[in-house]
């Protein structure tokens, strides 16, 4: 009798294990869904990616050209060539000091990109940490996480940048830290809502029953689920960082005067907007191109993420 019972137990356990294995393998990992037949949504995402990368390629190609073909200095003035409209010598024309706008616009690109990457690095890593903790553990962690995010969200990002500049003076580092802090809540929300959603799923409960540690569940099982969403948020954050940084530069705060940024070029151009509209349009269009490209990529990723969460 006893023996029989034991046997039965064993069988049951085996069945349970099988069940667990099945469920775990059925968990909708990103890879799983990726190899499914391409649907209409996939097609839509593909188009978005193409447009996005094409837009991002424009400033990049111009930048590469500028690396090899750079007949003008960024800051040397040439009073005989003031307000030249765009032609073959000056692709984007010249400004009030006769400086070549093409060269200046292109030399502003690396700084913009470095600042945006820095901002998103801070925002994303802290957002991942805070959002992950509050999403996974809930309770009081979640409550205070939410309050901090509420507090940060109620200060416009540019004001935070100004506060930092007022306190610590101008500088690239200040801009990165200030805006990086302001970008935490958006990442936090993405991670938190993703974790909240998947934490309830059966495959996580099974893993907990199996004795998997929280760190293991978070890193190996929850994080992959939100990876696409997070990438979409990063693309969006990149766009928003460019917008915020250029706004600060436009106000003449933030990046020190010696550096060229598009926001500052626009601010300068505003003074002679009707004599030389190109001097405003060139840096403005650069911002728009980069931002729009990031938007498209973000939207494409969002579509993929939505489709996968349905899978």
């Amino acid at each position: 009798m006893k023996f029989k019972d034991k046997n039965k137990d064993k069988n049951e356990n085996e069945n349970k294990n099988k069940d667990i294995n099945n469920r775990v393998s059925v968990a909708p990992t990103a890879k799983h869904a990726y190899y499914r037949t391409t649907s209409a949504i996939d097609q839509g995402a593909k188009i978005q990616f193409r447009i996005g990368f094409a837009l991002l390629a424009i400033p990049l190609v111009l930048f590469l050209i500028n690396l090899f073909y750079r007949p003008y200095d960024t800051s040397s003035m040439n009073m005989t060539e003031r307000f030249m409209s765009p032609d073959l010598n000056h692709w984007f024309g010249t400004d009030n000091y006769g400086r070549d706008i093409f060269t200046r616009v292109m030399s502003g690109l690396p700084l913009t990109i470095i600042i945006s990457i820095g901002i998103n690095l801070i925002g994303c890593l802290s957002g991942l940490l805070i959002g992950g903790l509050s999403g996974y553990f809930g309770g009081i962690v979640d409550y205070w996480g939410n309050r901090i995010s509420d507090a940060l969200l109620s200060i416009p990002a540019i004001l935070m940048g100004m506060l930092f500049v007022a306190s610590f003076g101008e500088g690239i580092r200040q801009v990165i830290v200030a805006l990086g802090i302001m970008f935490i809540p958006s990442y936090m929300r993405v991670v938190r809502s993703g974790f909240l959603e998947y934490r309830q799923r059966n495959f996580v409960k099974r893993l907990q029953l199996l004795g998997a540690s929280s760190a293991r569940i978070i890193w190996l099982h929850l994080f992959p689920q939100i990876r696409t969403r997070l990438m979409s948020a990063i693309a969006l954050g990149f766009a928003n960082a460019i917008l915020a940084e250029s706004s600060l530069s436009f106000l003449g705060l933030g990046v020190p005067l010696s550096q060229i940024t598009w926001g500052k070029m626009l601010k300068d151009a505003q003074g002679f907007i009707f004599q030389a509209p190109w001097s405003a349009i060139a840096p403005g269009m650069m911002i728009v191109t980069l931002v729009l490209g990031s938007f498209f990529i973000s939207n494409g990723l969002k579509q993929l993420a939505q489709q996968r969460s349905l899978a």
């Binding site: 509420d150 969200l153 416009p156 540019i158 004001l159 007022a166 907007i273 728009v288």
Partner: protein, 336 residues
């Protein structure tokens, strides 16, 4: 309901405290003596000491915060260093320009986005829908100050003298005068509002109750306005609350472009002069406005959607943006 309001008000206060804390910690972290930084290198030691005493710089942080909050409750935000005037007086002078610009822009956002969103959602997937969405996506990528420059170029070259230049708030042509700056602030945010409303309407149109309405014999316009639009309002109102914060920051920048004597100009001056009490005052004012608006948004949403009232009180969970309304479970009583 009363309990819910109290709870929300409590959360509001916590958020406000956190903001004040943040601003003060920033103060603490300033390298060197803030008073000396404010006064510049030429100031004498007595001057620095006097300012230190006035600002209470050597007080411990909790005391500073306590003093500030007591002042805040009494409507006293301290004294500006740069202008040597009470901060609230300065804000009182500058606020009307910013507020009227922000409100004007906000109204423009609603007026532009609602009809366009309904148009787009009505013919979902059509050329009209796609072009509306594409164009607004474009405007989302244009920062407000660049939009202002584009508008300047457009309006000037078409001989429409809409630029306010040195504006005068009491003038009767306010709407005409402020149209261009308000548009510059509004256009880049229209896309956000529009997208949310359109998606909500498209989602609601698929809901089964629209079929019930057709079964009742309701006309198309009745279904859209009486049922679908109303049910799409919760996410829309929520996103409008978020947009308001951005409208404020947009207004601050646009003031620079059009040289409007508003909070933005004041803030830039304050930052450049390192006038901490003034900077602090303006930032906290705007944060308070944003917090209050979000509180109102919650309140309005409860008014629109009865399910939110129930779940919030019952579950005791704060409702996080717009997610809740659509994942609610229905409470079923036992059949009597």
């Amino acid at each position: 309901m009363a309990r819910y309001i109290l709870k929300k008000a409590g959360q509001m206060l916590i958020t406000l405290l956190l903001i004040i804390l943040l601003v003060f910690i920033m103060f603490e972290l300033i390298p060197g003596n803030p008073a000396r930084i404010m006064l510049g290198m030429n100031a004498g030691d007595e001057q620095v000491a006097a300012l230190e005493a006035e600002l209470g710089i050597n007080d411990p942080l909790p005391l500073k915060i306590k003093n500030y909050i007591v002042g805040l409750v009494q409507g006293d935000l301290g004294r500006s260093i740069r202008f040597d005037k009470p901060v609230n007086e300065l804000i009182g002078e500058a606020a009307p320009a910013t507020f009227s610009l922000a409100i004007y822009a906000f109204i423009l956002i609603v007026v532009i986005s609602v009809p366009l969103a309904l148009l787009a959602a009505n013919k979902q997937g059509s050329i009209l829908d796609n072009s509306i969405r594409f164009i607004t996506e474009m405007t989302l990528a244009i920062p407000p100050f660049f939009m202002a420059i584009i508008l300047m170029l457009i309006f000037r070259t078409t001989q429409l003298s809409l630029s306010p230049g040195q504006s005068n708030l009491s003038s009767a042509g306010f709407l005409r005068q402020f149209l261009m700056p308000a548009l510059a602030v509004a256009l880049s945010r229209v896309a956000m509002a529009l997208e949310f409303l359109r998606d909500a309407v498209v989602g609601q149109k698929k809901m089964f109750y629209t079929k019930t309405a057709i079964g009742k014999g309701a006309s198309k316009s009745r279904i859209i306005f009486f049922h679908v639009f109303r049910n799409s309002l919760v996410p829309f109102v929520t996103v409008l609350g978020l947009i308001l914060a951005e409208v404020f920051s947009g207004s601050i920048i646009i003031e620079q472009v059009f040289l409007l004597p508003g909070l933005g100009r004041l803030l830039v001056t304050a930052v450049e002069a390192r006038d901490f009490p003034l900077t602090q005052g303006i930032i906290i004012l705007i944060a308070v406005i944003v917090i209050i608006v979000n509180f109102l948004v919650d309140f309005i949403n409860q008014f629109i959607d009865p399910r939110l009232r129930l779940s919030d009180v019952k579950s005791g969970k704060s409702h996080f943006g717009l997610k809740l309304g659509y994942k609610l479970k229905f409470r079923g009583d036992a059949e009597r």
